[in-house]
Amino acid sequence: MSTRARASAVFPQPLEQVWAVLRDFSFPKLIDDVESVEIDDGESAFAVGAVRTIKWKSGEVRKQRLVALSDLSFSISWELVFADPPEETTAYDSTIQLYRITENNSTFVSWYAPSFVLAFIHSFIHCFLAHSS
């Protein structure tokens, strides 16, 4: 059973153009469902450790911390530190990694989110069913 959500796509733009957008930790502001993205405490959107607050038009709020940003491997990683309403998982992290497609100077974008915390859900459901029967 997979415990990892993964999606990927080919962007027609050159890697440098895609990376210039996605290395900015406030990039979720581009998403239509997002109302606002703010970097907390006046931190730089490129500083590891910075926390962004994302407010969705639905009213959801999430805080995520930048944990890795590499101009060498063209990857950016963050972890969830707060969610209102609470996430179905206690925490998760995400990584976006870019690869240059040399054949036509486009970009392969991979986004994966390990869901190791699903073990928590297994335990919770197991306990719930065990005590309800």
Binding site: I31, E88, A113
Partner: protein, 40 residues
């Protein structure tokens, strides 16, 4: 006891797979949106 444990595992596995599939669809949709935004 054995029956309950088996049922529990199947149920939790279904929930987990559902979450994974939901999240994958969410990631794919966001990537598609970002691709269109970066292109403009």
């Amino acid at each position: 006891m054995m029956h309950r444990d088996s049922r529990t595992y199947e149920y939790s596995a279904d929930v987990s797979q559902g979450l994974i599939q939901f999240r994958q669809a969410e990631l794919a949709r966001t990537l598609d949106e970002l691709r269109s935004k970066i292109g403009h």
